[in-house]
Symmetry: C2
Subunit: 383 residues, 2 copies
DNA sequence: TCCATTTGTTAGGCAACTTGCTTATTGAAT
DNA sequence: ATTCAATAAGCAAGTTGCCTAACAAATGGA
């Protein structure tokens, strides 16, 4: 009922420990939490009893008594992440800090929510067993879904990308199979958070991720929070007026190696010297060489992307735009789209490539699971 | 250095009191703060000693002992607000809760930052003296400026609207004249916050305010926070690709009764039956009657506005868009622009008129001053 | 008049931190 | 080897900020 949870000292300490990659000392925790050493001592004792912290040796080399080093042991819990895409299924296992200890992917076998979820559960199970976390309790599964998440946090709509046209509950099958907390979010939102967590947008609190692949979509982060929109449609830049509804519902399907609409357009043009290009790299190479239909196509695509970026800037003015997706994750395109953008608006953003490529949504799902697990570990004490 | 200020009980109580319009009892404060009665008792005692709370009678009518009623007295402090516009200068005096006790406006006499600031100081002084707050200490002045605020919080750029082309410090003259804290923000941002505080967007945490007047600009609020953008250019929708840079720097000059670009366009068209329209109302009336150049102009303007709204929706998907400004604050335009928007995107927002009209930025400046004053009253105790 | 009810006030207590002190180690200087 | 300065570890008492419990005071209605 009362508003503020007022994170206790143990929670603060755990929070700091989960951000660390190396073991740390109690005096370090004291200064970084702003608490006194006795308080840290008590907090560490509590956390040790709960198995969330372990002493792992002594610090040496400095004058004075050597401090005990502590870390969150791998046995404290495992996280799982699943990225459900139209052509690829990715899973990962991580420790509570979000450090990956196992990752696998395979082509999507059959379309449709139930089939893909069954495949994902199998793949996740085998990846978990193959990892060194097989015996560790699985705390949370984060799932990246290609559609709009309803307010119940379980049901996904408009996942046309995987031929799931009816609303489908992607959470319960995982929860039943692994008897764990399952948390879902949209793939573009997760990709955006992943870029901020471990990708190209580290240290940025307001930016946009533009994914160009089968369609075009954007994930927008404002002051560290993903913009979702009233209808879950924030970032649906395929609907921007200059384009109308030409490329619409599948706009979020940005993680597909096949099905790139730019390649599709290319193959339906005539006038190629030899065969039409079959890869994005080939198309860009031929465009750079001045080959006629290639150069025109690339220039048109860059203009479209520049127009989308300019529109995003006119509305939210991000400092940085991260480009990703099968088409977008390309230096040549970024350079050209960047100079076109600069001609359109007086306050252009910095354009950078994704730091994570097509693993962005998966990494985002790991982050989601890590956040959720942390929150639950904190709520254990107060609730 | 340490992060959380962890609002003390007195701060919480003050916060609740500042949101109340009527005096309240201590038991009410206890339940609404989630604190016990003894704690409230102590907090009220502290606040009374600081002159921030006063007993103002007894509650009666209910069974049981009658409770003492408390409120923040007017003597606790005064706030001032200034809205610097290209054609009008507005000032207001309010109590700490933001309740207006005096308001005046007059046409801007001469352009340029220094002249307008001098005029504003005069007008503010006379308004303060004429109000019943003349003897009350002035805590904070909130100023709405027609330009981009630099990171120092004092210097304003691009105030071309008032013929101030060089960066100018709008804060120091007020601070010197009244020996008080002065806080500035952009007029569109303040108008947006005002709509949320006391206008059409009450209870909404994510929405956009689109101002159509001399130009077109937008203020965007995401989860209760105004989006500013990396260059202070968030909401500069005049730069959206379909329009190019046709209407640019003066886009934020939305509060001007004169200088409406739609009227300007109208007067430069030929083919009017009689004189061209001189007011927006006249133009819309003649358009509704089917008069030729009027109907075309209005339809074009509505299409432009719908396109801007659709672009905003494709990027941030707000639930509601508030329309304001000399042209935008008009039912006929809102109805037409609304139906055009619905044809452009599948997740249209609700369009509503401003609840505050051309006083929005001034009300926003009052809000800004009230927030700043509250923060300082809180920091007094902890710092 | 008495009573149920609600407010006002005091007293005591507890949780979560703090500061200040003593003790235990450690690397380097003598 | 011994000593010293520096740092960590651990203990004791004090402070803060809130709570619950209990009771006194005031009020409308039976």
């Amino acid at each position: 009922m009362t508003a503020a949870a007022h994170a206790s000292s143990a929670d603060q300490v755990l929070d700091v420990l989960l951000h660390q990659t190396e073991p740390v000392t109690r005096p370090f925790l004291a200064t970084s939490c702003g608490l006194s050493r006795p308080t840290i001592f008590a907090a560490i004792q509590q956390l040790e009893q709960r198995g969330l912290v372990q002493a792992v040796g002594q610090q040496s080399g400095t004058p004075g008594r050597s401090a005990t080093l502590y870390e969150v042991p791998e046995g404290a819990g495992a996280l799982a992440a699943v990225d459900i895409g139209g052509s690829n299924l990715r899973v990962a296992i991580a420790d509570l800090r979000g450090q990956l200890v196992g990752e696998q992917h395979e082509p999507t076998a059959r379309p449709g929510g139930p089939a893909i979820v069954a495949q994902a559960i199998e793949l996740l199970r085998s990846t978990l067993l193959a990892s060194r976390m097989a015996a560790v309790p699985l705390r949370t599964i984060g799932v990246s879904v290609p559609g709009v998440l309803e307010h119940d946090g379980r049901t996904v709509r408009y996942a046309s990308n995987i031929d799931q046209f009816e609303p489908f509950d992607f959470a319960t099958p995982f929860a039943d199979a692994f008897d764990t907390v399952v948390i879902l979010d949209n793939n573009v939102n997760l990709a955006a958070m992943a870029e901020r967590w471990r990708g190209a947008a580290r240290e940025l609190s307001t930016f946009a991720v533009v994914a160009v692949g089968a369609g075009i979509g954007a994930g927008i982060v404002h002051e560290g929070r993903v913009m979702r929109g009233a209808h879950g449609a924030a970032g649906e830049v395929a609907f921007l007026p200059p384009f109308g509804t030409r490329r619409k519902v599948d706009a979020r399907a940005h993680d597909e190696a096949g099905g790139l609409s730019l390649l599709h357009d290319a193959q339906s043009r005539s006038g190629w010297r030899g065969d039409p290009p079959t890869t994005v790299e080939d198309l860009f190479r031929r465009a750079a060489a001045g080959e006629r239909p290639a150069a025109t196509l690339v220039e048109e695509e860059c203009a479209r992307i520049a127009s989308v970026i300019a529109s995003i800037c006119a509305v939210i003015d991000p400092e940085t735009v991260v480009l990703t997706g099968g088409v977008g994750d390309n230096d040549q395109l970024i350079a050209r789209a960047g100079s076109l953008t600069e001609a359109m608006i007086p306050f252009p953003p910095t354009l950078i490539r994704s730091g994570l490529g097509d693993r962005a949504s998966l990494i985002g799902a790991v982050h989601l699971a890590a956040q959720s697990a942390k929150q639950e570990l904190v709520e254990d004490t107060s609730g």
